[in-house]
């Protein structure tokens, strides 16, 4: 082995990375899906145009925003509604919204608009077609919306503190893609470069939604007072993202897509390992890192939550960032594997929030080294789906003992260990979480407790007379689900959450946060243990600003004098 290979830092151990507490401390990175999207829009010179804005003074009508790329156009068709306050709910069970959207594959005709007007406002109870790629809806942040319209129509800018406190004018309450409610399946578009990465269609839809919402609020101010209204100051405008309320429905996604989960986490871990493996760094890179860290500190100071759990995490992060900045004052960031030394310092001195923020920061100055990993973040789920039935049964047992060691060490007879049941309600098929001991829901349990299932399979394997997996599963089909997962996790190290998803202590928001951090979301604000709000595309350049800002927008800017 040569010297370079010896000094290569390996990716982190999945037993370390895939615990719920650490997934629940994940931060956005350069590899996040929003950042992939904006890099592409900029690199390939996309044009984004408002092609229709037919909305009356009461805020009712429709608008179209078309994004034209090298080979394809995509159009956000937005419908604005006049929603009574008593119908404003962010639950999936809601039936009306302030605005509803679809991303159309191409440029819609008048007939398309008429068809979509009959269906998109109904969301789940409407029907879209293979011309549509997503379906979504959003509600106003009533307080901030009214304040901004009041201010602009009176001819002045809204109050910065109020903008900072909320951060968005509308929040989406669901963004559906991939074949939902009649939309096109992913295989219809995934061969297109702009659709190949995960959730690129959904991210484009949200980015265009932000354009629409900002135009709409200025339109409403003008409609109210054409003589005095002013548009938003461009710098203040950038501070508005699009909010999102995310509930339980997103948590099972991570468990139901093990190969995809692995692809995301493996790309991030490889990126971190590449940076940690750098033997030295130029002074300019060290300075760039210090600036990113200072901006992350501002970000941490501006992160607010009303939930005690997140308040504690934010407090930890702020003190982590102080410690990091103090360490950076004297740390050598240029010689002797500087980033690995910094990482090891972080593991010893920072909370999980701080460690995962540091992982994200280490990638920031190294786009040339890590950005190509975004090409590895999609997964061919069919390739890993079939079970290898010719595998000897002893090998399956060994795999279970390796991947699910944590579960085999858990006392599953304790009521707390499997206190929860994941199930689907009849009402709009809403995913829910219940208490096994208190509610008659066990017959409806979804297969979302791999640890428990692995332990059951392991017990059955002990006395099994069969010699191959196929024979065993023919006799015990109830273990097919976990046998498949175990075989996938044996090949794909980050495919499985290595923690108890049924425990009384489990916090669904930890799973939501991991997924949303890969989207590129910031300002996670749990409202309970099972749903949260986030901000998407805050500080992002608007289409006409893309070329100037490039990819450097997620962290807030430094104060003018400090740059």
């Amino acid at each position: 082995m040569d010297q370079v290979a010896q000094q290569r830092v390996p990716p982190r151990d999945p037993d370390t990375v895939m615990t719920l507490a650490r997934l629940g401390a994940a931060h956005q990175t350069r590899l996040s899906f929003m950042r992939q999207l904006l890099r592409r829009l900029n690199r390939d010179d996309w044009t984004i145009t408002q092609t229709s804005f037919d909305i009356d003074a009461g805020g009712v009508g429709h608008a179209i925003y078309t994004a034209q790329g090298p080979d394809h156009a995509y159009s956000l068709v937005a419908f604005a509604h006049d929603l009574p306050a008593d119908q404003r709910s962010d639950r999936v069970i809601a039936t009306a919204w302030d605005a509803t959207f679809t991303l159309y594959d191409g440029i819609p005709t008048e007939a398309d608009i008429a068809r979509l007007r009959d269906n998109v406002p109904k969301q789940e109870s409407g029907r879209i077609s293979d011309r549509e790629l997503s379906l979504s809806r959003a509600n106003r942040s009533v307080r901030l919306w009214d304040h901004v319209v009041d201010a602009l129509s009176a001819g002045h800018q809204p109050d910065e503190d109020q903008v900072r406190a909320v951060g968005y004018l509308m929040r989406t309450t669901a963004v559906y893609g991939s074949g939902k409610f009649g939309a096109a399946d992913r295989e219809q578009t995934r061969h297109r470069p702009e659709c190949a990465g995960p959730f690129q269609i959904e991210m484009l839809s949200v980015y265009l939604t932000r354009c629409f919402v900002m135009d709409l609020v200025e339109h409403m101010a003008r409609a109210r007072s054409p003589g005095t209204a002013v548009p938003l100051d461009p710098a203040l405008r950038r501070r508005f993202g699009i909010g999102n309320s995310t509930g339980l429905g997103m948590a099972p996604f991570l468990v139901n897509h093990p190969a995809l989960l692995n692809a995301w986490v493996a790309a991030r871990e490889e990126a971190l390992a590449r940076v940690r493996s750098q033997p030295a760094a130029p002074e300019a890179t060290a300075q760039a890192f210090r600036r990113f860290a200072a901006r992350a500190q501002i970000h941490a100071e501006g992160w607010h939550s009303a939930h005690p759990m997140q308040i504690q995490k934010c407090t930890d992060l702020r003190s982590d960032m102080k410690a990091l900045m103090a360490h950076l004052d004297t740390a050598d960031l240029t010689t002797d594997h500087p980033w690995n030394r910094l990482w090891l310092w972080g593991e010893a001195h920072l909370s999980l929030e701080g460690q995962e923020q540091l992982a994200s920061l280490l990638m920031e100055p190294y786009g040339d080294l890590v950005d190509d990993l975004t090409q590895c973040m999609a997964a061919d789920e069919q390739a890993s789906f079939p079970i290898d039935g010719t595998m000897p049964l002893v090998r399956l047992r060994d795999i279970i003992e390796d991947i699910y060691a944590w579960a085999l060490a858990t006392d599953w007879t304790a009521r707390k260990a499997q206190a929860r049941v994941w199930y689907t309600s009849q009402a709009k098929l809403e995913p829910r979480l219940g208490e096994r001991a208190l509610e008659p829901i066990e017959p409806y349990e979804q297969p979302l407790g791999p640890g428990r299932d692995a332990v059951l399979a392991h017990a059955a394997l002990k006395d099994a007379p069969q010699s191959t997996v196929a024979e065993f599963l023919l006799a015990h089909p109830q273990h097919r689900h976990i046998a498949r997962r175990a075989q996938i996790a044996a090949r794909l190290p980050y495919a499985e959450i290595r923690d108890n998803t049924l425990s009384a202590d489990m916090l669904p928001v930890d799973m939501l946060r991991l997924k949303l951090s890969f989207f590129g979301a910031c300002h996670f604000d749990p409202r309970s243990d099972r749903w949260l709000r986030i901000n998407m595309f805050q500080h992002a350049p608007f289409p006409h600003e893309l070329a100037e800002t490039g990819d450097d927008w997620t962290l807030p800017p430094l104060p003018m004098g400090a740059q």
């Binding site: 306050a85 404003r88 709910s89 639950r91 999936v92 069970i93 029907r127 077609s129 293979d130 509600n139 009533v142 307080r143 991939s178 074949g179 939902k180 009649g182 939309a183 096109a184 399946d185 295989e187 309320s245 339980l248 069919q382 789906f385 079939p386 079970i387 290898d388 039935g389 010719t390 199930y423 689907t424 309600s425 009849q426 098929l429 809403e430 829910r432 979480l433 219940g434 509610e439 829901i441 409806y444 297969p447 997996v469 196929a470 599963l473 023919l474 006799a475 089909p477 109830q478 273990h479 097919r480 689900h481 976990i482 046998a483 498949r484 669904p508 409202r527 309970s528 099972r530 749903w531």
Partner: protein
């Protein structure tokens, strides 16, 4: 009505679970229904009939009793979901030249996706044959040779699986939408309903954890 393939898969997975199959089998049946619909075949109808026939049947009666050269079921008719699962599990055996002949099977067209996955996984060329109908898979392409229109028969006395030497018939072109028969969908929806917990007020308020108002 046109359906997306994701909708077909999700409905079929839930329906299969609702009919009493294990989750692992239901996951595969969902994908099998999706594959057959994308081939333009009556996959939803086939699955609906299989589930109706086997509703609540003991799992041990559905698949092969033993994995020798001939597979038969104690229940009389092999279920394509249970049989297909084992057929796909043994992909490496078929690639190595082993063959199998089955006794009576319900809706043999549902076995095709499992054979396809076995071929794709191993890189082997495999074929399924019944009543003059031959389906071959190799190099990611599927060929259908069916002069007697036996593809969508509701049952057949025997099916033969072997490595394929040659490809006959016409190459399938895949579809991106499904047009299942409404009565098949109705049956699948009835089975799928069994996987949904009845709505209660307590569940509505606490199960998703959120309040109902979004006015702030």
């Amino acid at each position: 009505m046109m359906w997306s393939l994701n909708e077909i898969e999700a409905l079929s997975r839930k329906a299969t679970r609702g009919a009493g199959y294990a989750w692992g089998l239901a996951e595969e049946a969902g994908r099998a229904a999706r594959w057959t619909c994308a081939a333009g075949w009556p996959g939803a109808l086939a699955l609906a009939e299989v589930l109706t026939r086997n509703d609540g049947a003991p799992a041990a009666s559905l698949g092969p009793q033993a994995l020798g050269e001939t597979w038969t079921a104690t229940g009389g008719l092999l279920c394509p979901i249970a049989t297909g699962a084992t057929l796909c599990d043994l992909a490496a055996d078929w690639a190595a030249g082993r063959t199998v002949t089955t006794g009576p099977v319900a809706w043999p067209l549902l076995l095709v996706p499992y054979m396809v996955w076995a071929a794709d996984r191993t890189g082997a060329h495999l074929s399924l044959h019944w009543q003059g109908c031959t389906i071959t898979r190799g190099d990611g392409k599927t060929h259908l040779d069916d002069p007697g229109a036996a593809l969508d028969c509701a049952q057949t006395d025997t099916v033969h699986l072997a490595a394929a030497e040659a490809r006959h018939g016409t190459m399938l072109t895949r579809l991106y939408r499904a047009t299942p028969m409404p009565q098949a969908i109705a049956i699948l929806e009835t089975f799928a309903q069994r996987t949904y917990a009845p709505e209660t007020e307590a569940s509505r308020l606490t199960g998703a954890g959120a309040g109902l108002s979004d006015n702030d």
